[in-house]
């Protein structure tokens, strides 16, 4: 049994080591040092900065694509789709499956993944979201969580929880001293192409306009004769298909397992809020911000501290500008 003074001493030690850790030597340093290092690198024009910038751009573009489907469903139906992360995973496994068993190029696997996810998305929507679209929001949240569990575990049972990888050796190129892995580069191109394509679809086609109208005002859309339930399931299908494309692109350059979706899901939420609900340019900028923070944070900060920065930014955005950087823009 520790004596009282001894206990008091230990308490004092604890207070200085934990509560005051950021203020003590070795505590504050860990926040200042990385930024000091960062600033010195900028001052010295270190070539590593250019490399990090390239990595941030590559990662950010793909992140933007993962948020696209989520922001669409959120914007049109006001539903937080927790199954979005596992939709990405289904996309990854589809590309992997067609390329390993059928020997089809993964690049052709990506459109296949989009089709598979479109069907899956419509099925999920009709079975779980449509019946409770008017119910309190927590019910939709739990329903999509249930879907997440079902699909994730099904993948785990069918394909084992072991990480998988698409056999693809694209190599890399070097541009002006900057090293660019081609897998990620193609993923970025796909992301940009998809974003432009979806934007054109929403702005130029009849169906796209109906979707935007429903996002703006559901009751108004009903009054002018838009079949809102139909728009709902099409939106859910398209959102899921976008997740398929995003997942397929990620599979080009990264290993994955049934649980990969969780980290992407959380970051996709951050991007959606950061960029502004339903905003496409917002999703792109938000994706870039999150990608840059992760790449630069991963290089300068210890462990997963960069994720702390992302959440602080997220909370700050929610508080100060919940409509996001590009809020109020078109859906």
């Amino acid at each position: 049994m520790p004596t009282i003074p001894e206990r008091r001493n230990r308490m004092r030690h604890l207070v200085t080591s934990v509560a005051a850790a950021p203020l003590q030597g070795g505590g504050l340093d860990r926040f200042i040092d990385p930024f000091a290092q960062f600033l010195t690198d900028i001052a010295n024009m270190e070539p590593v900065l250019l490399q990090l910038l390239a990595f941030g751009l590559l990662l950010g573009g793909v992140y933007a694509l993962t948020a696209l489907g989520l922001t669409m469903i959120f914007g049109v139906m006001d539903v937080i789709n927790f199954a979005h992360g596992v939709f990405l995973v289904v996309g990854m496994y589809t590309v992997w499956l067609v390329s390993t068993t059928l020997g089809i190029s993964p690049f052709i696997g990506i459109p296949i993944a989009a089709v598979v996810l479109f069907a899956l998305g419509i099925g999920v929507h009709i079975l779980t979201v449509e019946p409770i679209i008017e119910a309190p929001q927590q019910n939709q949240l739990i329903a999509t969580l249930g879907v997440l569990l079902i699909i994730q575990s099904a993948i785990e049972i069918i394909f084992t929880p072991d990480p998988q990888q698409v056999e693809l050796s694209l190599g890399s190129v070097q541009v002006g001293g900057v090293f660019i892995p081609l897998g990620q580069f193609y993923a970025l191109l796909i992301a940009l192409g998809t974003m432009l394509g979806v934007r054109a679809f929403l702005n130029r086609t009849d169906l796209g306009r109906k979707i935007r109208g429903t996002a703006d005002n559901r009751d108004g859309a009903r009054y002018v004769g838009i079949n809102v339930p139909q728009i709902n399931y099409l939106t859910f299908g398209i959102g899921a298909a976008l997740a398929g494309v995003a997942g397929g692109s990620i599979a080009l350059f990264q290993r994955f397992d049934p649980f990969t979706g969780e980290a992407y899901l959380i970051n996709a939420f951050v991007i959606v809020i950061l960029g502004g609900l339903g905003s496409f340019p917002g999703a792109f900028v938000g994706g870039l911000i999150v990608g840059m923070i992760q790449v630069f944070g991963g290089y300068y900060l210890p462990g997963t501290t960069s994720q702390v920065l992302i959440f602080l930014l997220f909370i700050g955005t929610l508080l100060v500008k919940p409509e996001g950087l590009f809020g109020g823009a078109e859906a």
Binding site: P136, L141, A143, I150, S153
Partner: protein
């Protein structure tokens, strides 16, 4: 039929008495207290205990307790929190940290953890309510505050980072197994402690519901602007809701850390912990006193029994659990507590139909 009628009539007169809720509460907790013995009763060679172990009962009551705590904030004031794992984790970490590094008795550590969680709740509440976050935005903000803590703790070597804490033996902090040390060599005392916790938080919830505080809470939930217009200080009372709810949730985390051997950021601050805390209340019926308890007795055993039954196919239990979640929110959006009245409505409709057909 006439006996049934008279029984029903008798129940109705009992239900009108002022002491009725008290009697029902005592009956409910007496039943819960007897449960560890009931599951061991042999019925035709079948023991309930074969599938429903004491461990499952403890988990069930833990989640009934945390859901009841969540309910004070989210069920009563209507501020849907998706980040109660933050408070749960603060309670667990404060208790273990003070126990391991200072040798402070876990009962005191638990209260300190509760106060810290209440403080964190006040910070979250002050920010989100001041900036008037609503609906999805509020839920996502609370989730972000919980995830923030997960990554902060994971990256702090002072808190053992991702490894977390291993619960010390009682002799390490100068105590014997027993109530004072908050550690026992069998599960039964643990069951009665968490049942005591549940009793306390249920009584507190009941007291809140039946006071002007509860009246303010429900007014805020139903229509905040109308409540404010008749002079309800909604900002202050929402803060009260968060702080009380966070305090009790943290005690649940502290209990968790004393019952299980280890805590890690990935277990007590886990993304899914947020869901496990709120699920029983939503399934049972948010905003009701009995809902979180009933909900936990439906949700938790399903998950645990499925886990122990389908051990040969890893993941099948979660498919069943997921399907169960989807089914329950689709077919029972207002919670299980609405089933009796729905059944009565169905019954009277059936009877009405019969009369029409005659």
């Amino acid at each position: 039929m006439s006996t049934l009628e008279s029984v029903r009539e008798g129940y109705r007169t009992f239900d009108d008495q002022r002491y009725a809720p008290f009697v029902k509460g005592v009956a409910l907790f007496a039943l819960l207290a007897a449960l560890p013995y009931i599951i061991e009763i042999d019925v035709a060679g079948m023991e309930l205990a074969a599938t429903l172990s004491l461990k499952v009962l403890i988990l069930t009551v833990i989640y009934a307790y945390t859901a009841q705590s969540w309910n004070i904030m989210s069920g009563y004031t209507g501020q849907f929190s998706f980040g109660h794992a933050a408070f749960f984790g603060v309670g667990a970490y404060a208790t273990q940290l003070l126990l391991t590094d200072v040798g402070l008795n876990p009962w005191i550590g638990m209260l300190i953890g509760g106060l810290l969680a209440g403080l964190y709740g006040l910070v979250i509440g002050a920010l989100t309510f001041r900036f008037n976050l609503k609906g999805h935005y509020f839920a996502l903000a609370t989730l972000a505050f919980a995830e923030l803590l997960r990554f902060v703790v994971t990256n702090m070597s002072e808190l053992n980072g991702a490894n977390g804490y291993f619960k010390p033996f009682p002799r390490d902090y100068g105590a014997e197994y027993g109530l004072a040390a908050f550690q026992f060599q069998t599960d039964l005392p643990y069951y009665y402690i968490i049942l005591g916790f549940l009793l306390v938080v249920t009584v507190v919830s009941w007291a809140i519901k039946n006071s002007w505080v509860g009246l303010y809470f429900f007014a805020i939930r139903e229509d905040e602007r109308a409540a404010a217009s008749v002079g309800v200080p909604s900002f202050r009372y929402k803060l009260v809701g968060v702080a009380v709810s966070a305090f009790f949730t943290a005690l649940g985390g502290a209990y968790w850390s004393m019952y299980f051997n280890t805590i890690r950021p990935d277990t007590v601050f886990a993304l899914f912990k947020n869901v496990e805390i709120l699920l029983p209340a939503v399934v049972g019926g948010p905003g009701t006193l009995i809902g979180p308890i009933v909900g936990s007795f439906i949700v938790t055993p399903v998950s645990e029994v499925a886990r122990t039954t389908f051990t040969d196919i890893n993941g099948l239990d979660r498919i069943i659990y997921g399907a169960f979640l989807v089914a329950i929110v689709i077919y029972s959006p207002r919670g299980v507590v609405s089933w009796p009245s729905r059944a009565r409505a169905l019954w009277s409709r059936l009877k009405g139909d019969e009369e029409v057909s005659e």
